[in-house]
């Protein structure tokens, strides 16, 4: 079982990103689950979304999760949310930030000793899609870190999922995914 927790703000597309990732993975024969915590949160409020991936049908519907990966797609949430809650020794973090890894850990000492990857999904989204929607770039970075799928296969799959959007937006997302794949460190 592979488990992922997303930290996001409502409106940044974490729930959509989690469902998109689940959709891609499902086409390769694996079983998936994607959900989010909602409540009455309005756009901008901190929220979390979740993915589960397994070879067998996923029966577990508990919301509690000790994630293998933590995605932080908004740069402020490493300070205001508890992004390391319920972590495991080998939990990997992919964090959106303009800071270097060293400066990030200095600013948030809780990340000391964790396996951390950084990528500036907000800047990438702004420069490619034209809006700060950092969900698809985060998935590009995840493909690099996890080596889950070949990036070309992943982009082709995402093209299908984003299919109903205008071609310009789909193309911009492809560039964003590739840039995050190349830039994550």
């Amino acid at each position: 079982m592979l488990e992922i927790r997303w930290h996001s703000r409502a409106g940044q597309g974490a729930a959509t990103g989690a469902k998109g990732l689940a959709d891609v993975i499902s086409t390769t024969g694996k079983h998936v689950q994607a959900f989010a915590f909602y409540g009455s949160a309005k756009r901008g409020a901190a929220m979390t979304a979740y993915n589960r991936v397994d070879d067998a049908v996923i029966m577990n519907h508990e919301k509690y999760m000790e994630p293998d990966f933590v995605f932080v797609i908004d740069p402020a949430l490493v300070y205001t949310s508890d992004v390391t809650i319920n972590h495991k020794d080998n939990t990997k973090y992919i964090i959106t930030t303009h800071l270097s890894k060293e400066d990030l850990i200095k600013a948030q000492p809780k990340l000391e000793g964790k396996e951390i990857y950084t990528v500036d999904c907000i800047t990438i989204a702004n420069e490619t899609i034209g809006r700060p929607i950092p969900n698809t770039p985060m998935l590009g970075a995840f493909m690099k870190v996890s080596e889950m799928y070949d990036i070309e296969f992943f982009k082709e799959s995402m093209k299908r999922i984003l299919g109903k959007l205008p071609q310009k937006i789909v193309d911009a997302n492809m560039i964003a995914i590739q840039r995050a794949y190349d830039e994550v460190k």
Binding site: K19, A34, F35, N60, H61, E62
Partner: protein
Amino acid sequence: MAFDKMELKDIEVWDGNFAAAQALRQCQIDVVAAYPITPSTPIVEGYAKFLADNYIEGEFVMVESEHAAMSGCIGAAAAGGRVATATSSQGFALMVETLYQASGMRLPIVLNVVNRALAAPLNVNGDHSDMYLGRDSGWIQFDAFSPQGAYDLNFIAFRVCEDHGIRLPCMVHQDGFMTSHTAQGVETLSDDVAYNFVGDYKPMNDMLDFEHPVTHGVQTEEDWHFEHKARQHNDLMTKVFPKIEEVFADFEKLTGRKYNLVEEYDMKDADVAVVCMGTSVETAREVATEMRAKGIKAGVVGIRVIRPFPFMQIAQALKDIKAVATLDRSAPGGTVGMLFNEIAGSMYNLEKRPMLCGKIYGLGGRDLTKAHLVELYTELQANVDAGKITTPLQQFIGVRGPKLSFL
């Protein structure tokens, strides 16, 4: 057919709401009268979009309340159309008056209930309070444990309720957010296969049949009312289960997916068992398997059909069990939980009555964790080892503050 068909992958990643909306599209619902409410909104929103995009020949009626939504459905069903809608929580509560009208008038409406807590305090998350509120309304109630169930049970519901020997409305329940907003793989049916399973709607006593004029919604006082209610109860008790089992069998032939009135998991040789509904059934199955690895013979009973209640089937499933816990996801308001009551009644005349205790859990969407269930099975095994119930009969799971238990 004048409408467009949709190409679906064999497995689509859908949440429970979208799965239900797709089922309504494939069943070609004539009329949806709806007043959307979280978390069921995407079901009727989905129907409206499919309609606007020419995937359905039908009518979406916007109304001013849930009471009006069900009233519109009743009118459309009496007129002679295939009718469905969806609601949750406060909306369901407002609909209650008309639920009794629909069942008493014997109108085959399918209501998707995305289960959510009832205020106060206001809460949009999933528990079974609204489901319990409908349990005396004379409707057939199916319960989905996953998005796949929410999809499949809609087809099954139409086949059952539209049968001229049944003609009773059906609810299809799914857990708010835990099913409705959780995307999982759903094995799909093609549009033609799905529609053929449900079949063309066959009207009965429809008001649009001008050669056979009828008056619907008549008044009866003490001279006739009892006979009407007795007839309805008789049909619920004697005709519905055979029909459901026939439809379940047909559905299995078509899809390979097998549904049962009572979903037993590892019950054959179990010592301890939990009885529950919704997503908790699947989580409990996973934990039961893990308990067996630890030497505790654990089983799970999931209630697939809540009304009519599978009284005898439950007794059969639990007859050799030593200790049983019921899991009620609704505040019982001064008594034991509904499942505790029903299960106690089912088991009362068994030769070896299992020990029974009841748990109240998950109110307002509070998480039921695997750790809770491990603790519960361990406690049941302790009762078996002690040969008696070692805890109070009613306990709350997962609530903060001093431990709450009663009786």
